[in-house]
């Protein structure tokens, strides 16, 4: 597609439920990133996928968070047993790391509210 897309755009869930967020990167982009943005704050890195390499999970805040990506396509971020502090906007970005410039392009985000 023309840009990075994410779904759903908004998600309201109850504390303790699991949620799954989806990201469709720009076609042909080899790298995909997930970030979290809490209200009024900057973005925090969560996880990075590059091609078929092992993902960099160093930003995941707890073992309740996990993400998958199949090849160079769609990625899903899963949050298990959601807590109120998980409420945030979750943003996905993609880039073609093998081609300069290494510019990350962001999707519109998923706003997650945990009640």
């Amino acid at each position: 597609g023309a840009g990075v897309s994410q779904s759903p755009s908004n998600k309201v869930t109850e504390k303790g439920k699991d949620v799954e967020l989806r990201c469709d990167p720009i076609s042909g982009h080899t790298a995909l990133y997930w970030y979290r943005q809490r209200l009024g704050q900057g973005l925090e890195f969560l996880i990075y996928f590059q091609g078929n390499s092992a993902p960099d999970k160093s930003g995941l805040p707890s073992d309740r968070f996990s993400a998958e990506r199949t090849g160079e396509s769609v990625s899903t971020l899963t949050i298990q047993r959601t807590q109120q502090e998980d409420s945030a906007v979750y943003l996905c970005a993609s880039t073609h790391r093998d081609r300069a410039p290494d510019t990350q392009y962001f999707g519109p985000g998923t706003r997650l509210t945990v009640l």
Partner: protein
Amino acid sequence: GIQVEQSPPDLILQEGANSTLRCNFSDSVNNLQWFHQNPWGQLINLFYIPSGTKQNGRLSATTVATERYSLLYISSSQTTDSGVYFCAVDSGFQKLVFGTGTRLLVSP
């Protein structure tokens, strides 16, 4: 890890005014991007500028890599420039570290 500081944190301008936003970073970088986050939350790429100077319409940016800072210039500001401006850097670990942003309000 690398630290990114942005100033000022908040800025209020009259339409037509010029402004300069600053980003300081604590280590050498191989990627620096400026973003505008509009009131609907969408992050829009403004510049990819690990060094040098670029211009795009009323916006321009300069990064002095040896002194570890970048500047974003907005000239003849418009109400549509309102939002949050983020500087983000990559020091070689393939992920962007974001500053806390400058919140800009341009009033008519």
